[in-house]
């Protein structure tokens, strides 16, 4: 969670300067709207994380976005079967840039105990993942730490990253076709 006091600024009499990148990144980090893609027990832990005991709203995440169009953070919590893989990829493509992905639990990260023909062995085989949360399932504290790590990434990300060649190359490795704004076509 970013605080305005933490923002790197140049202060003078009657003015305060910072870069647009940093100001925007701070605003983004404080209002990441998550899209929970929960399929199993990790989803239950995520519900506890959202609930009043752990209270994810403290992180500017009051609003769960159940439409990918208005979400910034895709939280994948649970086993993703190979049949569900294309659905998850479609959801990711529908999200507007900038977007981040949090992979919660052993199954989403690596397939977990489901070393079998029907289970996708880690969602990073179909979409790029920013932060992995290990555990089977992870406790809400771990999910919160994952979210905080996402916030760190959001705060440090340049506004131009999604227009860069490197980003296009990254998306190419996942066979996701993007336009000049970094949006999936």
């Amino acid at each position: 969670m970013g605080k305005i006091e933490d923002l790197e600024t140049i202060n003078g009499e009657g003015y305060q300067l910072t870069t647009l990148d940093k100001a925007i990144a701070l605003a983004r980090a404080n209002s990441v709207w998550p899209l929970p893609f929960a399929t199993s027990c990790c989803g239950i832990e995520f519900m506890a994380t959202m609930g009043s005991a752990y209270d994810l709203s403290r992180f500017g995440m009051e609003r769960m976005s159940f439409t990918p169009r208005q979400a910034d953070l895709l939280i994948v919590a649970g086993t993703i079967s190979k049949k569900l893989g294309p659905v998850l990829k479609r959801v990711y493509e529908q999200m507007a840039e900038p977007k981040w992905v949090l992979s919660v639990g052993a199954c989403a990260c690596s397939g977990g105990i489901f070393d079998t023909y029907s289970v996708l062995q880690g969602i990073d085989r179909i979409i790029p993942v920013d932060v992995y949360v290990p555990g089977c399932p992870p406790r809400p504290e771990q999910i919160i730490e994952g979210v905080m790590n996402i916030h760190e990434l959001v705060k440090k990300e340049s506004n131009r990253r999604r227009y860069s060649e490197e980003y296009k190359h990254l998306m190419d490795t996942y066979q996701i076709d993007i336009d000049q704004h970094g949006e999936a076509k």
Binding site: K82, K83, S110, G111, D115, Y117, S118, Q121, G122, R125
Partner: protein, 173 residues
């Protein structure tokens, strides 16, 4: 009308289907009847319409693979239930591996539709007369029937698994 028991069911089935009743047993209080696969559709229809037996509910359809038993490698198992008599019974049909055809019972029980698709999906048993026999749980482009007992437990050539995380390839870690 008194409620019917297993013995009365068996007697009635044997009387109606005679030589097509290949075997029968009572397992854990439940009647099991093995029938000629070609007659199973008629037998279930007959059971469903019978005034006294009144087998009105299809609980489940499943497949079994017995790779060692030659000529009867695959079994299709129908679990049926009569609400009137509160009695369950199992109808089995054995198929050879080179002719996995059996008549669909979707015309008798609409609920058989997905059960037969599942049995096809996992065992490759073809239900003739099914309106839409395609995979239901697995990916559409899967080219094998995963519940058959004909695969090695773990395929060393698999590429969709990162072995480093599972302690199988220790020199890489």
């Amino acid at each position: 009308m008194e409620k019917q028991n297993n013995q009365e069911y068996l007697t009635a089935i044997q009387a109606a289907f005679g030589a097509d009743v290949l075997a029968h047993e009572e397992a854990f209080g439940m009647l099991n009847v093995e029938l000629t696969p070609a007659r199973i559709h008629d037998a279930i229809a007959w059971l469903q319409q019978h005034q006294d037996l009144s087998v009105n509910y299809l609980t489940n359809i499943a497949g079994i693979h017995y790779p060692e038993s030659e000529g009867r490698e695959f079994a299709v198992v129908y679990q049926l239930h009569s609400w009137k008599n509160n009695l369950r019974l199992r109808i089995k049909g054995y198929l050879p591996k080179d002719n996995l055809h059996i008549a669909s019972i979707t015309d008798l029980f609409a609920g058989a539709n997905w059960m037969e698709r599942e049995t096809y999906d996992f065992f490759g048993i073809i239900f003739d007369g099914h309106p839409d026999l395609r995979r239901i749980l697995n990916m559409d482009d899967m080219d094998y029937f995963p519940m058959r007992k004909e695969y090695v437990l773990e395929d060393a050539t698999r590429e969709d698994k990162d072995d480093r995380f599972f302690g199988r390839n220790n020199n890489e870690l």
